[in-house]
Symmetry: C2
Subunit: 421 residues, 2 copies
């Protein structure tokens, strides 16, 4: 991990400054300010009172941020009730995804569950089948943990070459949230697992009745029945009033609007783990139970939706990295398509199975760039190239593409999704 001070020293002493241009200096202080109508106290907001504290019981973003929204891709799915809304990664910074912008995926639209009628049943291979209300759940000890949720299909279009122009679309099936909830282990222990209990099947209360098979070892390890996200109640599109959190594993398993957990001795082989969420290989066989999300990263700025807004000189490259197996220990970036790699600076809390933010500060010479980032996680796993993935897995799958992403940036600072080999 690169040192901020060292990086900054090199950065600020770079060629642009040495060339005499002031980084901050389109105007240099009071004298220049006289010629700039945007400076100081002539703005309307300095001359009139704004709205009072009675105006916004629950606040919302500035009208100047209207473009910062989730977006869907019409042609990607047959119907908006069974579709995807992508997180605008290129508009965010830090590691928290705000609740209003969290990637959403539904199979039967957003269930609007009345919390007083919420029930969670645990049945199957248990000593005592149990039913929990929300009030019951809130009487168990809680934990607070930040985890990324990534859809297995994130970057799925990239298997067959670059297709979508924007990291919101190529990598936006992800969010990173701090959950509050009850360790699933406590609920399973309360019900009492029978000795042949090896699998659980969480089931959603929406009209798709989403189900997945999860091995008991994971359920007892770190799964959470969560009812809060980023401090407040879960949002409806994230499973209000309670969802399953399956840290580091593919998002489809994090069953929303949770209503039942069946305990069994073998997997159920339901639709979402047979015809879907399996990785079809070149030889026609499919990888199954590929739950864990491999280490991955993407440069969010610049990117196709977020060109470099200034000319050459000091430039902040930023991105995110994550791994389903632990923390991110290094991110390397290249601006010349892999000829030279540089250590990025990871900034902010480095938490297990949580998104990490990285920066690389460089002095742009104004010539075209080929940008890539490569993450290394705490197990030593190194994010592969797309070609390396294809060599092993072919191009038939739409799942688990964690290959290195390339952006081409032209002399105007505009970026494009490309591949280099």
């Amino acid at each position: 991990m690169a040192d901020l001070k060292q990086n900054r020293r090199n950065f600020l002493k770079g060629t642009a400054l040495a060339g005499g241009a002031l980084l901050a200096g389109r105007a240099t202080g009071a004298a220049a300010a006289e010629g700039d109508p945007a400076i100081l106290d002539i703005q309307p907001w300095a001359q009139q009172l704004g709205e009072g504290v009675d105006a916004r019981p629950y606040g919302y973003p500035s009208p100047h941020e209207k473009h910062v929204v989730r977006r869907s891709v019409e042609w990607l799915t047959a119907d908006p009730v069974s579709s995807v809304n992508f997180t605008p990664l290129h508009e965010l910074d830090g590691i928290i995804t705000p609740n209003g912008l969290c990637f959403e995926r539904h199979h039967a639209g957003i269930a609007e569950v009345e919390p007083s009628k919420f029930r969670l049943m645990i049945n199957g291979l248990v000593d005592k089948p149990l039913v929990f209300t929300m009030e019951d759940l809130k009487r168990y000890p809680r934990v607070n943990k930040m985890f990324f949720l990534e859809c297995a299909a994130n970057s799925g279009m990239e298997w067959r070459g670059s297709q979508l122009n924007g990291c919101q679309y190529t990598h936006g099936m992800i969010h990173n949230v701090m959950y509050t909830g009850v360790p699933l282990k406590y609920l399973l222990e309360e019900a009492g697992l029978k000795t042949n209990a090896k699998w659980i099947m969480p089931e959603g209360a929406d009209a798709s009745a989403m189900t997945r098979s999860i091995p008991v070892f994971k359920a007892l390890d770190d799964c959470i029945v969560a009812f809060m996200m980023n401090g407040e109640a879960l949002r409806p599109e994230q499973g209000y009033p309670a969802r399953l959190v399956v840290p580091g594993w593919e998002g489809n398993m994090w069953v929303k609007w949770l209503r039942r957990i069946e305990v069994g001795d073998e997997p159920w082989h339901h639709r979402e783990e047979t015809s879907k969420y399996t990785d079809l290989m070149e030889n026609g066989k499919a990888r199954r139970f590929t739950w864990e999300m491999d280490a991955k990263s993407v440069i969010t700025n610049p990117s196709p939706q977020a060109p470099i807004p200034h000319g050459k000189g000091h430039t902040i490259l930023s991105g995110v990295a994550w791994s389903g197996r632990g923390t991110i220990t290094h991110v390397d970036v290249t601006i010349d398509g892999g000829k030279n790699w540089h250590a990025a600076r990871i900034d902010g809390p480095s938490l297990d199975k949580s998104m990490h933010r990285f920066y690389y500060e460089f002095d742009w010479d104004g010539k075209p760039l080929l940008l890539q980032s490569r993450a290394v996680d705490s197990t030593g796993y190194i994010q592969p190239t797309k070609d390396a993935l294809r060599a092993v897995r072919g191009e038939n799958s739409i799942y688990h593409n964690n290959g290195i992403q390339t952006w081409y940036v032209n002399a105007n600072g505009e970026a494009e999704n490309v591949e280099v080999s």
Copy 2:
């Protein structure tokens, strides 16, 4: 800090369970479910499709969470444009305050600044006066840090005895947010501080032109010019597009809608640091420059706005603690007005000058309770009683009351703000 496993073991083996009652068991599984119309697949949300991904480009809370809002107190201030909107601490969990619920305090209402017209000037005792646009700011290296912001007047009404029934009102002038921004140090270094530069005066662009004097040592230490909160752009009521972050110090200094930083050799003695934000003592003299927020805690659940919703038996007590001097190392709680103290369990990331979440799980016998929490920070400072504070500072001030809060809980689980001596 108490161990979760140990606590839970004691908790789940408590008297209520020993007495034969099932914690989760108002119904115990499928058989009982037949009699309960709320269980399983007869709910409307399981029978019909919900809204699709095109419905909510920017999401919002469930309609069942309408009561989770900031609230103001009409009689507290003369006008809503110069008033306070309190965070509903009793409705939150974990350590993050969602952006829509962050405490807000204005002196001339919410300034709606157009970011393209934002300018930040640095002038005074500098080598080169500078003016920065938002685009300029975004070309400096950024950091991501989570900090609490507490108004110096938080709990101010408590100096003269318990007055407000709810932790939203007694302790809700606080929020805890992850900021992204540029260390102020880099901007001051770019301008070049003269050798006699000892103080800075940040100034807001709203109609109140808020100003405070801040010593240069703090400005160079950890202050940030922030433009993102919890991953997205600052909210208008939090200073969009840029505010000052002054970690651990009173909220009034975190100037919003930042437009100018003057550098000087002595403090300016402006209104907000003379007639306001000074602590009037018993002898008529005032403490000044009491910037740092002392360690403090409050039990958020149960509390007057959040009674115990169930009868006796397993009960989760929860609260928050923070210190302007570091992390929180211990929180002790009592349920009998101080006769016996118990170590609370601190859960979630423990970050410097950030809010900490604590829990105490106990088995309620259904008799009245006197609840208190007491925080200890990483410097060893112990949160005092209100009486200990009054003995030193009298009762004239409205600022810097970090005394221990007491809630009385009656046999129905309803709580009230009281004092015990």
